[in-house]
Amino acid sequence: MVGQTEPFKTKSGNRMEMFNEFNLLMVNYHLTSLTDWVSDGDTRAVIGISMIAVTMFGILVNVIVILKQQLVASWFAFKKWKHKRAVKERIEELMAVQAKE
């Protein structure tokens, strides 16, 4: 559904949603293999570790995306603040020149 409708405005939003859904599907497959289909204890333990690995990978990607967004937002806020300060300084300079004249 996400692939067909692309509900979010941003490309990264759609990609993230697709990735999360895919991850959920992967965990679902792991859980399916943990039903009575697999009875061997060792195999079940391996499936458990694999499930944790898939989840951790998903969480890692999510955390990286959030941190990246955080960095970009901070960078733009810093640039905005710097620009505002430069404009203010320039105005003060011009006013000082005008006052001298």
């Binding site: 409708t5 949603e17 679902n28 079940r44 944790i52 959030i66 901070s74």
Partner: protein, 279 residues
Amino acid sequence: MKSVADFVKGAVGATWASSFVLQVLLAGSLNTIFMSSRYLQIMVHMLLVRIQIPANAYVFFAALFQVAAFDVVPTDSMYMKMFDIDEEPLSENFEHLGYETRQFLYNSGSISLVIILFFPIMLCVYLIGWMPCQSAKKVSARVKNRVLFSGIFSFLIESYMILSVCCCINQTSLKWVHEKSWRAFGVNINILFTYTFTFIVVAIPIAVGIVYKKYFDLIAFDTAVNERYGKFIVELSTLKRGKSVLYYPVMGHVRKLILAFTMIFLQNYPNFTLFSINF
């Protein structure tokens, strides 16, 4: 495994908290945080399916559950003492994950506490609004818009999965106790909360649908609407499928509700529950 789980829990919690604060300060979009919290909530709740899950997976997911459930305040002992709760969990899976009783208040933890605390806060805000002072009225109107609509509605939406699971769990033991004891008071008040929140849980997808249909076009132009609903109306693209894309958030909630329902009431059919996750 416990230390790995604790590390992941800490990392996720810190990232969410710092990003949330930063995005609120810079008036940015909270969409990515919400997206990842929704994903984590469904992921963690998958372990409630009645199948034998390895112990290592339980340890890992139980630690993650505390972050996914926004359980920041340790409310368990408080509710235990207040209501004298002595009920047994629904099953072992539920107990491992943190749903240790069948009582709504105990299971929902910090979420119910935030919602309960919200009412006196709002009463104070309304009282400030009635004061004969223009600046107080301004502050009250602003807080009303930001906290009442954006804040609490966003909070309900983000904790929807946990609320629906807690409601469904308490639905399995709805027996009023006619006694004069703290235990009876605890059980009865939990039933009252369950009825209220069941109504809210069913109403939320409908409310989300109405809000999206009514305000989606206005959100970009109307600042008053933006201030009220801007935090929880996700920017959706109508380019590919037109207005039908507005049903996407509604379907997301319906999916969680179906998942909670099948996990609790159809426990003996784990394959069916696993199928319903893909709905």
